[in-house]
């Protein structure tokens, strides 16, 4: 009976310890996933958002990117190498033209081809409404490359994958 009690207490300690370890020391995959959650949160915009929050989010978006980030999209105006300040400015300018914006990521497949490099394939869906009242609904498959710089995973390349070719 006593042995059984010790066993149960031991098991409970192991379970609690594992939960704490997973929470306090997340895996690299979780850290990468968190960057996408932050990007989604900061790009998204609610109609009630005030100017202060907008400026804060604009600055925060830039902090997720490497000093230079390569973008390759089907929009010629959004392809090439951009600094994090340019990305911040572009995001701010785009967000100012919409009253509501919602960015969601689905089906993230994360691999680590090299040390401190993560390659993520995912589906991104951007929905919203422009200030002129026009509805937006864009879906793209993206291939993202993140580098671990000073213990932070930063976006260093984002490429849109061509799913349908006219």
């Amino acid at each position: 009976m006593v042995k059984k009690r010790y066993f149960l207490i031991g098991l409970l300690i192991v379970i609690i310890g594992s939960v704490i370890a997973i929470t306090v020391f997340p895996s690299e995959e979780k850290r990468v996933r968190k960057q996408f959650n932050l990007l989604s949160e900061w790009v998204s915009k609610s109609p009630e958002e005030n100017a202060f929050v907008m400026l804060q989010k604009m600055r925060d978006i830039g902090s997720l990117f490497d000093e230079h980030c390569e973008l390759k999209t089907d929009y010629p105006s959004l392809s090439g190498s951009y600094t994090r300040e340019e990305i911040s400015t572009y995001a701010g300018s785009t967000r100012s033209h919409v009253s509501r914006l919602d960015l969601k990521f689905y089906d993230l497949q994360i691999v680590f081809p090299e040390k401190e490099v993560a390659k993520v394939t995912l589906t991104a869906r951007l929905t919203g409404r422009s200030t002129a009242g026009e509805q937006m609904d864009e879906v793209r498959e993206l291939e993202c490359r993140l580098k671990k710089i000073e213990k932070k995973w930063l976006f260093s390349a984002i490429e849109a994958v061509e799913v349908l070719r006219k």
């Binding site: 689905y106 089906d107 497949q109 394939t121 589906t123 879906v139 349908l164 070719r165 006219k166």
Partner: protein
């Protein structure tokens, strides 16, 4: 056993080992069936109108092309990075065929194709192009919009993950 007892037993069953095994099996079956074989989805957008209406619910049957290949006029689900977001489109041309649109009419290998499912007026013009190896050409049924606003084209056969159940 009275009827009242039977009803109570149905809604509030005793938590026995047999009951837990039964619940686990049902949950596992539901997860495998609705998560991987027959995936429920909600149609968002008007590109397949009037065949499929915006907001309707359907299921993607993953085994549709397990032993066969997509044929012309089939409606298929095209995946992005995974199966959370899919495109619902109609197959209009197969590998090696030449496709073009002339004044809204579909031509495959120079021959006009009857499309009874296209109900809205269409004025598209698209120069001829060949469908590549291991690819199929998909278009939505609703072509009552400028050609550049409609998401269509050739896609790899491996992206076809099934078809709608109805």
């Amino acid at each position: 056993m009275t009827v009242n007892h039977k009803i109570r037993q149905f809604f509030f069953p005793s938590i026995t080992l047999k009951f837990l095994i039964r619940v686990s099996l049902v949950a596992l079956f539901a997860y495998l069936f609705f998560g991987h074989l027959c995936i429920p989805f909600s149609i968002q957008g008007i590109s397949m109108e009037p065949t499929y209406h915006n907001g309707r619910v359907n299921f993607c049957w993953r085994l549709r092309y397990l032993f066969s290949e997509p044929k012309r006029h089939d409606v298929v689900a095209v995946r992005f990075a995974g199966s959370k977001v899919m495109l619902l489109k109609r197959v209009v041309a197969l590998e090696g065929e030449r496709i073009e649109f002339r004044d809204g009419k579909l031509f495959v290998d120079g021959r006009e194709i009857e499309e009874p499912y296209v109900r809205y007026p269409c004025t598209w013009n698209l120069p001829p192009r060949q469908v590549e190896k291991d690819a199929i050409y998909v278009v939505g049924d609703n072509r009552n919009m400028p050609i550049e606003n409609h998401h269509f084209g050739q896609t790899s056969r491996s992206r076809i993950i099934g078809g709608p159940l109805w």
